[in-house]
């Protein structure tokens, strides 16, 4: 949906309007994948949504006037920084919470029934297979070192090329290839049974 249709987006400049529309399209195209990437790293839906929202706001605030082809690496760079901040904060919080005697395990991650609701509905057996494979993949992804996980998801899920991934991760292209290769090796070792 074009940005001009929203009441709070009203630019006098036509070029600014075009830019806003382009930004809207970009964000709409990237938001769900970004959420999945954040979720794989944070393993918490609300935290992942917060991270994606912060990254969107930061991109719009600081980089919306940059060329549109730079947005994707910039956005994932911002998202990665947000994820890292959240992980640090969570580590500190967990350390503090572990000292509290009245904390129960049930408080941690209550599943949201709406969030858990699936949008597509394939055949039950096929769906079960996919569910199992997906659960195994998420577990294996969660066990990967952060940089390997990031390189793998940016390349495979988001479809960034090596150069864009390197810009998003803030490292060299050689490092991206190494991280990606190692991630693939690990995943293949762990998930091979699902795909042989």
């Amino acid at each position: 949906m074009p940005a001009a249709s929203h009441g709070d987006v009203d630019l006098s400049d036509s070029s600014s309007n075009d830019r806003c529309r382009a930004l809207s399209q970009f964000l709409a195209g990237v938001e769900v994948r970004a959420f999945k990437i954040a979720q794989a790293a944070l393993r918490h839906e609300d935290d992942a949504l917060d991270a994606v929202q912060d990254a969107m706001l930061q991109l719009a605030r600081a980089y919306s006037d940059r060329p549109a082809e730079e947005w994707k690496p910039l956005f994932y760079r911002i998202l990665e920084n947000r994820i890292r901040d959240m992980q640090r904060r969570r580590t500190v919080r967990n350390r503090v919470m572990s000292w509290l005697p009245f904390r129960s395990e049930a408080e941690e991650d209550e599943p949201d029934p709406i969030a858990e609701a699936a949008s597509g509905d394939p055949l039950p057996t096929r769906r079960l297979e996919i569910d199992e494979a997906m659960a195994a993949l998420e577990k294996a992804l969660g066990a990967l070192p952060r940089r390997q996980q990031q390189a793998f998801l940016l390349r495979t899920l988001e479809g960034l090329d090596v150069a864009q991934t390197a810009r998003a991760m803030g490292c060299s292209e050689g490092s991206v290839k190494t991280h990606y290769f190692r991630a693939l090796q690990t995943l293949r070792a762990q998930l091979g049974e699902f795909y042989e």
Binding site: V32, L49, Q53, L57, D112, A115
Partner: protein, 165 residues
């Protein structure tokens, strides 16, 4: 090797398909929140865009206001320079040359001066002048005019006496 790379490519494709399936399965709650986040970001971009436009406009205005007095002062300086240029002093050598020329003309036109130079006048004048110089060039007052003159005459006589002797 080729089989292994084919296997890896297949494995990659399968993982990719599975990840895509995961994207498709993202629930309504998450999609709704992402939608809200996108709108908030767009509103922020619009605000930022307006602010940038305002900043650019005010920056241009501030620069204009800053440079206007400077440009005015420079224009005034150039104008004053053009106005005063023809009346500027010509410099010391030119004035001296004119002065010398006028003096020379006066000397040439003065008949007495020529007579004096040719020795047609009395040489006593020169003797008196030298005596004045020897005496320190003290100006003679009006009352002492006669004294000075007689003193000068005596000195002149002494000099001439020495010369003749």
């Amino acid at each position: 090797m080729s089989r292994d790379s084919n296997g890896t490519a297949d494995f990659e494709r399968q993982l990719q398909a599975l990840l895509e399936e995961g994207v498709q399965r993202v629930g309504g709650h998450a999609r709704s929140r992402l939608n809200q986040a996108r709108h908030a970001a767009l509103a922020e971009a619009a605000r930022h865009g307006r602010w940038l436009l305002l900043l650019r406009a005010t920056t241009w205005l501030r620069l204009r206001l800053l440079w206007m007095p400077v440009a005015g002062a420079m224009a005034a300086a150039v104008l004053v320079a053009f106005v005063l240029w023809p009346n500027a002093p010509q410099g010391y050598p030119a004035v001296e040359a004119n002065h010398t020329t006028v003096e020379d003309l006066d000397l040439l036109a003065d008949r007495e001066g020529i007579d004096l130079m040719q020795g047609g006048g009395d040489g006593q004048f020169y003797e008196w002048a030298m005596a004045q110089a020897d005496a320190g060039g003290r100006p003679a007052g009006p009352g002492a005019a006669g004294q000075g003159k007689s003193h000068g005459a005596q000195n002149a006589g002494a000099i001439t006496g020495q010369n003749s002797g």
